[in-house]
């Protein structure tokens, strides 16, 4: 059989295709994004889209499962916080055809604001939980996930971690299977969550979970690898791969793929066949707590931290105290934090903000979080998607209540605006907030790797689509002044900020310039250079925080391999020492 090297995310997309999935909706978020970037290759076999947010994506996919086709949605772990509402109700209602929600968790927070363990959601919402440990399992387990969803009438939470989603391993492909056709008829009793129906649905959910637990003892997702009887290891997800590297050859394994509900009879049998039982899991003691509650003795979180991701060397050290041997070097690397790219349109806005006295800036999730870093230092908070406007609103009320004089800006991106920033914009207007909402519109969802959104004018497949104009939305809300400005023009940017601060009517700012990394945008290229005869070495150009601008022999120097000729540094030079040429 031909082998292919696929990331876990690419394999999940392949698994959905092979499972006969027909409708897919997601909002991008690291480490889940590539699942949906891999779906358009399956052409007409399935419909796939970027939704404005995770809640919408989940509702669209669930609606498709009610409508009668297998469906998929995917999100990063914190996305499920946004989508929790439909998840919990879908759990009570059940499905007509298979419904799978992929949650990609991020232990160690490579690209996230927390390392919440979303296995808890499965138990909380009362749905099946499936965890693959490599790319082949991502394909195979997806197909089984749809069978379980239909057989036990419930959504399936399919949980990966960064190392499952972003590791590549060898897989073989299977054929696409088509689900049995379903003809939709109205079923209010099942799909209308009115209290009387919900009251009747809860016992059904408990019964289905009990049946699923029993199935877990024989289902192909859970397997016993029986070797010796001294050591037994219960594990799941990526922790299985780490444990295989760490435990001796004669250790026996109970490798679980279906982890909610836990197959307690299978666990009890396995535990009775080994002398010492370990439970190896990343983050929380999700399995261990339940195994201990069932009266089975085991070793786990007493030794293994619930913080940060594991790896074989860390696991060996935590379990057996064996510290890895490393070479000590007499030099140390200095930090290399991520930065706004050369030519990033956000730079002009944050540079302008960095000069403001008494400015408080509530930010949001996206590349512009980097505006908090030195030398810009122009961001106070970053809480969650869409929080930029509403957190600013609360701060303004606090300042009013406590007599503090501040000028408050709420900042979101374009994708974030459509995700959940719009409600904050309504809040500021409705409740007379003294906040200036600012949308940093770069025409793309940037940080996750350039996905389209309702404002960008293209679909997931790259086909032209309606581009919703943010200024039209804000004006329709009732913002009387909406100042649209090019942030790369520093004088215009400053002018817009001054005008908004002086305005007597509700005013918003849209700082608009497409991200430099959008491939379809054609733009003139150029290069800035320093005339060292003119440069006075005042270092003002360093204040824009561009990685291409540096000091060499006490004068400014612009690295030609990085510069894109945006001229923000030239605009701040007091002696006109920086020039730009085309090319």
């Amino acid at each position: 059989m031909e082998k292919h090297l696929l990331s876990g995310n690419e394999a999940i997309a392949r698994g959905a295709y092979e499972a006969g999935v027909k409708v897919c909706s997601a909002y991008p978020g690291t480490p889940s994004t590539e699942i949906f970037e891999s779906l358009p290759q399956y052409g007409d076999a399935l419909y796939c889209e970027w939704a404005p947010n995770e809640k919408v994506a989940t509702e669209v996919a669930y609606g498709a499962a009610i409508g009668g086709v297998r469906s998929l949605c995917a999100m990063k772990h914190v996305g499920l916080n946004v989508a929790a509402d439909p998840l919990f109700t879908a759990a009570y209602n059940g499905v007509n055809r298979g419904f799978v929600i992929v949650t990609a968790d991020d232990p160690s927070m490579h690209s996230s604001q927390n390392e919440q363990d979303n296995r808890r959601y499965a138990k909380f919402a009362k749905v099946a939980l499936i965890e693959p440990s490599d790319s082949q399992e991502c394909i195979d387990f997806m197909k089984e996930a749809y069978r379980i969803s239909e057989r036990f009438d419930m959504p399936v939470l399919f949980r990966t971690t960064t190392r499952v989603s972003h590791s590549k391993s060898l897989v073989t492909f299977g054929e696409r299977e088509e689900a049995e056709p379903f003809v939709y008829t109205r079923n209010v009793r099942k799909f209308n969550c009115a209290p009387a129906n919900a009251y009747l649905n809860h016992p059904k959910v408990e019964k289905n979970l009990a049946a699923l637990e029993e199935y877990g003892s024989s289902c192909p997702l859970n397997r016993v690898e029986m070797r010796g009887t001294e050591i037994g290891v219960i594990t799941a997800s990526i922790a299985y791969q780490y444990a295989k590297d760490v435990f001796p050859e004669d250790a026996s394994f109970l490798k679980l793929g279906l982890t909610n509900p836990l197959p307690m009879q299978l666990i009890r049998d396995f535990a009775s066949r080994v002398k010492t039982l370990y439970v190896i899991e990343e983050l929380e003691g999700f399995m261990e707590e339940q195994i201990k509650a069932a009266g089975i003795d085991c070793i786990g979180k007493a030794l293994i931290s619930n913080q940060y991701e594991l790896n074989p060397q860390r696991l060996r050290e935590l379990l057996f105290g064996e510290k890895p041997e490393t070479a000590a070097l007499p030099v140390q690397a200095v930090s290399r934090p991520p930065t706004l790219c050369p030519g990033c349109p956000h730079r002009g806005f944050f540079y302008t903000m960095s000069k403001g006295k008494d400015f408080v800036i509530a930010g949001d999730i996206g590349c512009y979080t980097l505006g908090a870093n030195p030398p810009l230092n122009a961001l106070d908070t970053c809480i969650c998607m869409g929080g930029g406007f509403s957190v600013a609103m609360g701060m303004s009320k606090a300042f009013e209540a406590s007599g503090q004089q501040k000028k408050i800006f709420g900042v979101v991106g374009d994708s974030t605006f459509f995700h959940s920033g719009m409600t904050g914009a309504a809040e500021i207007l409705y409740n007379k907030g003294r906040v200036i909402p600012v949308v940093l519109d770069n025409h793309i969802t940037g940080m996750t790797g350039h996905q389209d959104n309702p404002g960008s004018g293209y679909t997931l497949q790259g086909e032209p689509a309606a581009a919703i104009r943010i200024e039209d939305v804000l004006r329709a809300f009732g913002y009387e002044k909406v100042l649209v400005v090019d942030p790369q023009d520093l004088a215009a940017m400053q002018g817009a900020v001054d005008e908004a601060l002086a305005a007597e009517v509700p005013t918003a700012i849209i700082a608009r310039r497409p991200c430099l990394l959008i491939k379809r945008e054609k733009r003139p290229t150029g290069l800035c250079a320093v005339d060292t005869a003119k440069c006075i070495g005042c270092r003002k150009c360093l204040k824009v925080g561009c990685p291409a601008v540096m000091i060499r022999e006490k004068k400014s120097y612009i690295d030609p391999t990085q510069c894109v000729g945006c001229t923000v540094c030239a605009q701040v030079c007091p002696v006109g020492a920086i020039g730009r040429k085309e090319g």
Binding site: S169, N311, I551
Partner: protein
């Protein structure tokens, strides 16, 4: 055959992921079980990045922790120092002599460390080369990654693998000739 682990380190945008793909494709053709791990997202924006590749008869974990990599390919010399703790003592490092100041250095908030290459040479078996210069001489700074890959294949010693075929099938068609030249120049330049 025991498992071998390589770590590729550099700065976002230097082409480490493509290089890892060329390596992995060659290993796959030779029949090894292979796993590769990368991290996307926040770290892409000019930050420090690392990719791991593991191969052998059977590979379980797609990542290793400290003191466990057999080989390092560093696209930038300070990044070699940053990730040195992942290399086994006595491991092999292929290092680009190229130095790229980080944003903190460019802004004058920190000093780029002196003596990175010397420190690495003292602790590991090192091959160093000025891949940026070689790539420029070949006509494009963009092939710097494959120059380094060429040097790495010399350090690897897996001479039965047809790396040229792997380059042909991995890089975009119009850059095949440039990258093959880069591969050979890198192999020739690797100084033990």
């Amino acid at each position: 055959m025991k498992r071998t682990s390589a770590i590729l380190v550099g700065v976002g945008g230097q082409g480490a992921i493509l290089t890892a793909k060329v390596l992995v494709n060659g290993l796959m053709r030779a029949g090894y079980d292979v796993k590769m791990s990368e991290v996307h997202g926040m770290s892409q924006r000019g930050g420090s990045v690392s990719t791991q590749v593991h191969w052998g008869e059977k590979v379980y974990s797609p990542v290793v922790g400290e003191g466990a990599a057999d080989l390092m390919l560093a696209f930038e010399q300070m990044e070699a120092v940053r990730y040195a703790r992942f290399l086994k003592p006595g491991g092999v490092a292929v290092i680009n002599e190229y130095a790229l100041p980080s944003a903190t250095v460019a802004a004058g908030l920190a000093e780029y460390p002196e003596g990175c290459l010397e420190a690495m040479r003292a602790a590991f078996r090192c091959y160093t080369l000025d891949a940026a210069k070689i790539a420029l001489e070949l006509g494009s700074p963009k092939c710097m990654n494959i120059v380094l890959f060429g040097a790495m294949t010399k350090a690897l010693g897996l001479d039965e693998i047809d790396w040229e075929a792997s380059i042909r099938e991995t890089v975009p068609p119009k850059f095949v000739e440039l990258n093959l030249a880069a591969y050979h120049a890198g192999r020739a330049a690797a100084k033990d």
